[in-house]
Amino acid sequence: MRPARISAGLAAILGLTAMAMPALALRLPPVTHPATLKECSGCHMVFPPQMLPARSWTALMGDLANHFNESAALPPDVQADIVGYLTANAADAPANKAIRGLLSGVKATDVPLRITEMPWWKRSHGEVSPGRYALPQIKTASNCIACHRDGAKGVFTEN
């Protein structure tokens, strides 16, 4: 898998050397793992595993019966298959050194349960007015694809 291409905007946020890129964009490899695609796409898009550290995925997957106030329960074997995929491709997985910046500002003891709580996410959405998330067709900041049309393919550009 090719490492992520990080845009000028995100690179600046993360304190990396800015590359010449026309628009803000983060490109991650699309999720291809069958069980994750099938079981994590019913209620929202499949979130990229690279956006949370392994310990966060382990915590989330350990309590699917109480997943953000809903049951997303799965049989144990399917759950184990998914947690294996998510942790192997997490932000702190060896393969993802190039995008380790997504963990900037996160302490080794922090276990963030939301991408929308990650410091990089908050900074890159600082200019989005909170009222926009409340629009009926968007509903919540977690609805990435409402604003990033190709988000489910790992492509996050400005609209």
Binding site: H44, E70, I138, S142, N143
Partner: protein, 138 residues
């Protein structure tokens, strides 16, 4: 001639798929019916009316954000619903979405999740059969 042949060629698989879908649904409903009889010897048959009531009721015991099935599936089962995370849900009415209730594994999984979310418990076989019967009538 060619167009008629083409029409027939297209029609056969279409009928085949619809028949398969309804066979899948019938299998699910009869398995629920057998279970409902085992749970309650007085059970006779599923009721669309009871299913409708269950579908619309604001239940207690579940999570406060989701008091009823229509919270996500909307009051008109022939239209699109929306999850709490903003994603669209295809219609639940079989008339609007013939693939509904045709995959036993999918049906069991979502009854398991959504009954626990809305009621804080599993649904009974009778409740499940009533809901499917209601949505087949929509």
């Amino acid at each position: 001639m060619t167009s008629r042949l083409l029409f027939v060629a297209l029609l056969i698989p279409a009928i085949g798929v619809a028949a398969l879908a309804s066979a899948g649904r019938d299998g699910i409903v009869s398995a629920l019916s057998a279970q409902a009889k085992q749970d309650n010897s007085k059970f006779t048959s599923f009721s669309a009316e009871a299913g409708k009531k269950f579908w619309f009721t604001a239940h207690v015991g579940g999570k406060s954000d989701t008091p009823s099935c229509v919270t996500c599936h909307t009051k008109d089962a022939r239209t699109m619903g929306q999850t709490r995370a903003g994603k669209a849900i295809d219609p639940m009415a079989v008339s609007a979405n013939p693939n509904r209730f045709t995959d036993p594994e999918k049906v069991a999984k979502w009854f398991g999740r959504n009954c626990n979310t809305v009621l804080g418990r599993e649904c009974t076989a009778e409740e499940k059969g009533n809901v499917i019967t209601y949505l087949m009538s929509q």
